[in-house]
Structures are given as structure tokens and as C-alpha cells.
């Protein structure tokens, strides 16, 4: 019986991972960006690039989201909100930092209202550089993040440690 239970649990995990990879829901959060990356994310969702063909859907609520797409260096006002939104997301959760500012603060490094990149506030799983990255780069980055979740490359217990794997994406 124990063996069966284990088998069942493993199968369930496999199904969950399969579902997650094939239809991740993303949330977009602007933590102080110039809009450049944000419009490129939106462009990636519209017919020319059509991110939805990977099953990716933009959601408005953090409670429904698997992946958090962050743009911009973190401003002092947004740092707490970013943390709160991250905490509201269900496990397992993944964070993609999009654009130079989200990686390091970019051109705004040293501005008094900028704390730094996203990773200063929350853990980041994938980094997509560029000012702003092209929609193709965003799609590539998200796709690489999804690929890294596939069972062959990843343990089946996704929430065994707090923040998931760090899949560095260079595109």
C-alpha cells in the first residue's frame, strides 16, 4: 500500500508539473520601470508574437499566478509592494526579471529612490537583459524557464526548497 501511495503521489506531481509547464499564468509587475519593457511584454502577448501559444496567460491577480514578470529597478515605494505580491503568489513560484533596470538598476543606478535590481528584494529565477529586451528575447527567456522545470532537469518535488531553481537565462 505504501508503495502505491508513493506512486500515486509521484504521478500527481508529474501531472501537476506537466500542467504547470504547459500553461503557466503570469503576472506583470512594474516596480519603477520606464514602460519600455512593459510595452514589450504586452507586445509579446499580442498577435505578432502571441505568447499565448505556449499556454501563457496574463493574469491580474498574484493569487492566480505562477510566474511574476518584473520590470524596472525597484523604487522605495514599490519594494514593499513587490514583496507583498511575491508572498501572495502560491508555491511554487518563479520570478523573471526583464530588462537592464530589473537586473541591476540599469541607467538609474545611484538614483536616490532606487534600491537596485529585483533580486535585492525577492529571489529571481531568470534574467532577461536588454533595454528593453525584444519580445523574442522575452519569449525565449520565459520558454527557457519553463524548459528548466521539465522533470528530466528538475527534481519532482518542486517546493522542496523555498525559491526553486535559479535558471540563468541569457538571451
Amino acid at each position: 500500500m505504501r508503495l502505491n501511495g508513493h506512486f500515486l503521489r509521484n504521478t500527481m506531481e508529474e501531472i501537476k508539473t506537466w500542467a504547470r509547464i504547459n500553461s503557466p499564468w503570469v503576472l506583470h509587475f512594474n516596480s519603477g520601470s520606464c514602460n519600455g519593457c512593459d510595452i514589450e511584454i504586452l507586445a509579446a502577448l499580442t498577435p505578432r508574437y502571441d505568447l499565448e501559444r505556449f499556454g501563457i496567460k496574463l493574469r491580474g491577480s498574484p493569487r492566480h499566478a505562477d510566474v511574476l514578470l518584473c520590470t524596472g529597478g525597484v523604487t522605495l515605494q514599490q519594494a514593499d509592494r513587490l514583496r507583498r505580491i511575491y508572498e501572495q503568489m502560491p508555491e511554487p513560484k518563479f520570478v523573471v526579471a526583464i530588462g537592464s533596470c530589473a537586473l541591476s538598476g540599469g541607467v538609474f543606478q545611484g538614483c536616490y529612490n532606487i534600491c537596485g535590481g529585483i533580486e535585492k528584494v525577492i529571489p529571481v529565477n531568470a534574467y532577461i537583459p536588454g533595454c528593453p529586451p525584444r519580445p523574442e528575447a522575452i519569449i525565449d527567456g520565459v520558454y527557457k524557464l519553463l524548459a528548466s522545470l521539465k522533470p528530466a532537469e528538475r527534481a519532482l518535488e518542486p517546493s522542496s526548497h523555498e525559491y526553486g531553481d535559479r535558471a540563468e537565462v541569457n538571451s
Binding site: 503576472l27 506583470h28 509587475f29 512594474n30 519603477g32 520601470s33 520606464c34 514602460n35 519600455g36 519593457c37 512593459d38 510595452i39 514589450e40 504586452l42 507586445a43 499580442t46 498577435p47 505578432r48 496574463l58 491580474g60 491577480s61 524596472g72 529597478g73 523604487t75 515605494q77 514599490q78 509592494r81 505580491i85 540599469g106 541607467v107 538609474f108 545611484g110 538614483c111 536616490y112 529612490n113 532606487i114 533595454c131 528593453p132 525584444r134
Partner: protein, 398 residues
């Protein structure tokens, strides 16, 4: 906190996060039943401290900094800055460079207005129009990429000129793209002025009279939709706009429909200017020499961004860094009009009224409705509010 208020008055905080609009802001909306009675805004979620940062970077580095104030109107920010610094230095920019600046500025206006059309249609629940206009927007993004090499931060401006040049091949590509866009724009103009379902959400909503627009200091398409002739390209032509005069687009009604029509007609005007530029692009140099230190002095540089008048005040103290750069973006002028407009309207109209001014700050996602009668806070997302608006109008066909 507001429990002493009358029974049916609720405070609704909105913001600061939303996927379809771009930058974050926070609104506190007081409603009496369905009717908005007060609206207060809190900005600064994307405040980075750029004005301070300009003081520690040199004149050239600042071009790249001001270009990143806004990703949608990056070129016009850099243009305003460069025009101001060139005037301080007493440098005359070659005509070809000035014309190319206008060319890119008009292409940028096309991209920005099409982007807005999509976002505003999305707020009305008209997602088909959203997808179509963003598909067509990719055409102009391709043109911009063709001209400058970048999709968003074009980095076209230099102090004393431009970096890019166009040849006959690129001109032909632009003409082809414009022919397609013109056809589509005429179609959209037909949709926004004749589609009955859409007109229900726009006609007579958020009316801003001429005198209100004047007193509130509205700028750009919002002012022009209320018949206030305020367009820096016409009033105070800068750069090559003296050679390529703009016909001002004015609409009288001042409601949301008028704002759609103004922006779409401006698209047609932009196509005309670009074609004229391509036909008569003056030959010559692209850059001129700029001194590294800029003479002491102050100047004011005003340009017409897609959203309205952009205002730069630049003060030099004779060194290689500016003493002060003050930026006044168009949204801050129009924002007050939103707060005034919203009062007296249905809560359901709020998303459209907000989108109507093309806010460059508004990333509203979480809406908390605090019902003091039941004393149970109820969290709404922006999507819920948008959905509420759509369903409200489905049930109340007027």
C-alpha cells in the same frame, strides 16, 4: 478609518499595479452608491529621482538618461533635452538632422496613439480592437526599427544632430507601411464613430468643456478634444515643424468619443507629414560640433509629445554637467482633469475615463471596495472593476 462617514459612502483605493496600463499610480475614489463623489491621486511609484540624477551626469550622458524617463515617448524627451541644450550652446543643427528628428517623432506618435487605442479599447472590453490595433502597431515598430535599429529606445538624438540617416530603400519601406496603416486607421475611425456598442461607452462620457480644459491646464489630445487649440507644434513650431506645418486637429464635444477621434485624426495628419518629409528631405550634414562645456544660462524647451506638451527647463552653470533639469510631463497636467471628470460619473465609467487621457502612470490592479455598511473590506482587482463596467453596460443599454 473612515467609519464616521455617512452610511453609503465608500472609499475605494485603486492601484498601484495593472497589466494593460503602464506605470503605477494610486487613486482613492470615494463613491456614494454608484456615483463617484471624490477622487484623490498619489503618484511616485515609478519616481526614480531622475531630476537629481541629471545633476551628476554630464550633458551627453543625460541624453540616455532622459530617454529612459518614458519608454513610450523616449524620442521626444531626448529631443526636448537636445533642443534646449543646443539653444543654450548657441549651436545651429543642420536641417537634415532636424527633419529626421521630426520624422522619428511622428513615427513615435503613430506608435503611441495606436498603443493607446488598443489599451483604451481593452478597458472598454473591446479586446478585438485591442488585438487588431496592436497587430497594426507592429508595422510602425518595424519602421522604427528599420530607421533607428531599436524598437523602443531609439537613441536617435545627439547633441548637435542625429545618429541615423535614411536612404531611398528605407523611404519606400516607410511609404508602404504608411499606406497599410492609413487604410487601417480609416477603418478604426469608422469603428469608433459608428459602432453602437462601443459608442455606449464613449459618447457623452467624461465631458470636459472648453473652459474647464482651459482652467485645468489640460494639454495635448485631451485639450484638443475639448476644442482648446493647444499644440506646441502649431503654437511654437520647433525644429523642422516650421518647414512642415501641422494642421491642428480640433473636436468640439470633449467627451471620450472626441478623444478617440482626435487621436485617430492626428494619426492621419502624422502620415501626411511623414510623406511630405520623405518627398522633400533636405540633403546635408547630420551633425555639427558641440562644445563639451555649455555656456551659462537658462532655457525653456517645449515640445509636443504624443500625450501633450512636454516642458523642459534647463539651467547651465558653465561646466560639463547641468545645474538643473526640470521635466514637466504632459500626464501631470491632464491628471487633474481626470479627477475632476470622474466626479459625478458611475464607478463603471472610471476605467474608460482614466484611459481616456492616456495616462503615462497608471498601473492599477488591486481595487479594494470597503463597504462601511457591512464593514467587510472586499478586494477587487482592476479586472473585476473593468468586468463590472462591461457587465454594467450590458445590463443598462442606453
Amino acid at each position: 478609518m473612515e467609519s464616521k462617514r455617512q452610511d453609503e459612502r465608500f472609499i475605494i483605493p485603486i492601484g498601484p499595479q495593472h497589466p494593460a496600463l503602464k506605470e503605477p499610480a494610486h487613486f482613492r475614489i470615494t463613491v456614494d452608491g454608484e456615483i463617484i463623489t471624490n477622487a484623490v491621486v498619489r503618484l511616485g511609484y515609478a519616481h526614480r529621482g531622475i531630476e537629481k540624477a541629471t545633476e551628476s551626469r554630464n550633458w551627453v550622458q543625460n541624453i540616455y538618461l532622459v530617454e529612459r524617463i518614458c519608454g513610450i515617448c523616449s524620442h521626444i524627451h531626448a529631443t526636448a533635452y537636445c533642443l534646449g541644450v543646443e539653444r543654450l550652446a548657441g549651436v545651429e543643427v543642420p536641417p537634415r538632422a532636424q527633419t529626421l528628428r521630426v520624422l522619428v517623432a511622428e513615427l513615435e506618435r503613430i506608435h503611441s496613439h495606436l498603443l493607446w487605442l488598443g489599451v483604451a479599447a481593452h478597458e472598454a472590453g473591446f479586446d478585438t480592437l485591442f488585438m487588431y490595433s496592436w497587430r497594426d502597431r507592429e508595422t510602425v515598430m518595424d519602421l522604427l526599427e528599420n530607421v533607428s535599429g531599436n524598437r523602443v529606445n531609439y537613441s536617435v538624438n545627439l547633441l548637435g544632430g542625429v545618429k541615423i540617416d535614411i536612404d531611398n530603400q528605407i523611404s519606400d519601406t516607410i511609404r508602404e507601411g504608411l499606406a497599410f496603416l492609413e487604410e487601417r486607421t480609416l477603418h478604426y475611425l469608422d469603428v469608433v464613430s459608428n459602432d453602437m456598442a462601443f459608442l455606449q461607452r464613449t459618447r457623452g462620457i467624461g465631458v470636459l468643456t472648453r473652459s474647464q480644459a482651459d482652467v485645468l491646464g489640460c494639454v495635448g489630445p485631451v485639450a484638443r478634444a475639448s476644442n482648446v487649440p493647444r499644440d506646441v507644434r502649431v503654437e511654437a513650431p520647433y525644429g523642422a515643424y516650421q518647414q512642415y506645418p501641422v494642421n491642428i486637429v480640433l473636436v468640439e464635444k470633449g467627451d471620450l468619443e472626441a478623444r478617440f477621434i482626435v487621436r485617430l485624426k492626428e494619426l492621419l495628419e502624422s502620415y501626411r507629414i511623414i510623406r511630405e518629409i520623405l518627398d522633400t528631405l533636405p540633403p546635408g550634414e547630420l551633425t555639427t560640433r558641440m562644445p563639451r562645456r555649455i555656456k551659462e544660462g537658462e532655457t525653456i524647451s517645449r515640445v509636443e509629445a504624443p500625450r501633450g506638451e512636454l516642458f523642459y527647463f534647463i539651467k547651465s552653470n558653465g561646466t560639463d554637467t547641468p545645474e538643473r533639469v526640470k521635466v514637466r510631463t504632459p500626464t501631470i497636467c491632464n491628471m487633474l482633469s481626470v479627477l475632476k471628470l470622474a466626479v459625478g460619473h458611475q464607478l463603471a465609467d472610471l476605467p474608460m475615463i482614466l484611459a481616456g487621457i492616456d495616462p503615462c502612470f497608471s498601473c492599477n490592479d488591486r481595487v479594494a471596495i470597503i463597504d462601511h455598511r457591512r464593514k467587510s473590506p472586499e478586494i477587487w482587482t482592476w479586472q473585476d472593476l473593468r468586468q463590472y463596467g462591461i457587465e454594467y453596460y450590458n445590463g443598462h443599454s442606453r
